[in-house]
């Protein structure tokens, strides 16, 4: 799954963390594509993009 609350991926950017927070999830729950599983901005952006159709479907 995209967002797994048991996952504790690494996040070092407050900015990355905030974008995720604003989209309603915790960036650390993603799989990171950065060095050593680091969650980078594009991971959060991809997750948000992937969530969009889902939200529309459920709405």
């Amino acid at each position: 799954t995209l967002i797994d609350p048991t996952r504790r991926s690494r996040v070092v950017s407050p900015i990355v963390r905030r974008i995720a927070q604003e989209a309603g999830f915790d960036a650390a729950h993603l799989v990171g594509s950065g060095p050593d599983g680091l969650v980078v901005k594009s991971d959060v952006e991809a997750a948000i993009a992937a969530m969009k159709p889902q939200q529309q479907a459920s709405a």
Partner: protein, 460 residues
């Protein structure tokens, strides 16, 4: 009486006003910028720029005095006040020319003259009326004095202080705020005997107490005298100078008295009340989006209560231009506006002091807020520069950094990093992976973050 119509009319061409004008023009508006004196306002002509030029000369004088310690043999022959003035003026002139060029390049109509509100969307300048779909008030502030203390002669404000053609042998500085400590520092470096009088218990009373105390120690070493926690009672001119009497009866005498007790907004006699613009203690009342009580009229800069700083004016000016353009910009948070005092040593800060953080977040539990002070004694670059000081970081428990407070030579330049850290709500743990460049002073910030993240390197 001629009528002129614009999208935006800005009253006052200082930091706040010209920023609004530049940004609005950039966004496609036709803008009139009304200025009775010179574009650039206080900051450029009587504030930030000339003071910082003189303070740099003071820094040069200090480093010349210490040069022998660094192996550079010089003899200090004094201050050439004419060259000092020429240097100060050349810096101002060049920035002024740059600003005029920018304003011209963006096609802004500059109206020279004193403006007065004559309705909810019109400003009169002499016989001309400038009407805008929106107005921005940006008339700034001027030095105030205390009741019973008349300005004039040997009792001066920063305006006259900047124009002195000699260095006074002694000065009393009334007010230990930013302007007071900057002039005290400047004059001391140039050879004057200086005494600061401050009614509150600390220099820079708005800063974190650790910083104020550190600055007091440093000023004591520099033999800058100060009387804290004692209100001013009266002053009278003598033959050779000014005699000041404090509330406790103490008397001090000096060649000059600089009154630096704050700056009052320029809002009287320009038709604001008649147009329905609400004032409070002289300041223009606005909502958090900087709109006054009259829809369509905005206010920016020193006339809006809050930190009176040029870059706050810039930020508010940009905000208002974007707000009017419908861009829904982010509200300017006064607590996130960085503050720098260019005295020696410098002071820089952003966000909350420890006391403010505890007042705001620590009501329920004392451990809600923690702080750490890293002494610049541990920082190699500061050792090289021969400066002392401290980096103090205030954080919420397991939470973001909410305040950063710096003291030491050149620390003003570190405030950009501090501002992003606090502004982006970083946790010390977010900074810790980024080990700072060695040997820099910004490494001291890095060390403080490491310590707060539980990973001290060059600290116990």
């Amino acid at each position: 009486m001629a009528d002129h119509t614009f999208d935006l009319v800005v009253l006052g061409g200082g930091s706040g006003g010209y920023a609004a004008a530049l940004r609005a023009a950039d966004l496609g508006s036709r803008v009139a910028l009304i200025e009775k004196d010179k574009l650039g306002g206080t900051c450029l002509h009587r504030g930030c720029i000339p003071t910082k030029a003189l303070l740099y000369s003071a820094e040069v004088a200090d480093s010349v005095r210490d040069a022998e310690k660094n192996g550079i043999i010089v003899s200090f022959e004094g201050v050439d006040t004419e060259r000092l003035a020429a240097y100060r003026d050349s810096v101002v002139a060049r920035k002024f020319k740059g600003l005029e060029g920018l304003v011209r390049a963006r096609g802004i109509t500059v109206v020279q003259g004193s403006g007065r509100l004559v309705g909810p969307s019109s400003v009169a300048v002499g016989d001309d009326v400038y009407t805008g779909r929106n107005l921005v008030l940006a008339t700034g502030a001027v030095a105030r004095t205390l009741p019973g203390l008349e300005l004039g002669g040997r009792v001066i404000t920063s305006n006259e202080a900047l124009q002195l053609d000699s260095i006074p042998s002694s000065v009393i500085v009334l007010g230990g705020g930013v302007i007071g400590v900057e002039f005290a520092s400047l004059w001391r470096s140039l050879g004057a005997e200086v005494t600061i009088v401050e009614a509150l218990p600390h220099l820079l009373p708005a800063e974190d107490e650790a910083i104020s105390k550190g600055l007091e120690r440093a000023f004591r070493r520099r033999e800058i005298d100060f009387r804290l926690g004692v209100p001013f009672r009266s002053a009278r001119e003598t033959e050779s100078g000014v005699q000041v009497t404090l509330d406790n009866g103490d008397e001090i005498e000096a060649e000059l008295l600089l009154v630096a007790v704050g700056r009052a907004p320029v809002t009287a006699g320009i038709g604001l009340e008649d147009a329905g613009v609400q004032l409070e203690r002289g300041f223009v009342v606005t909502d958090e989006r900087l709109q006054t009580s009259v829809p369509g009229i905005y206010a920016v800069g020193d006339i809006v209560a809050g930190p009176q700083l040029a870059h706050r004016g810039f930020q508010q000016g940009i905000f208002v231009a974007e707000e009017i353009a419908g861009l829904a910009p982010t509200v300017v948070d006064d607590a996130l506006v960085p503050r720098v005092a260019y005295c020696s040593p410098e002071v820089a800060s952003v966000g909350l002091s420890e006391a403010e953080a505890i007042a705001r977040y620590g009501a329920e539990s004392v451990s809600a807020v923690s702080s750490y002070e890293y002494s610049l004694a541990g920082n190699a670059r500061s050792e090289i520069l021969g400066t002392n000081g401290v980096v103090k970081i205030v954080r919420l428990a397991d939470g973001p950094v909410v305040g950063m407070h710096l003291l030491g030579a050149r620390v003003g330049e570190l405030v950009g990093e501090a501002q992003l850290t606090v502004g982006w709500e970083a946790h010390p743990e977010d900074v810790a992976p980024f080990v700072h460049a060695h040997p820099t002073q910004n490494e001291a910030l890095g060390e403080a973050f490491l310590k707060l993240a539980g990973k001290p390197l060059h600290a116990l």
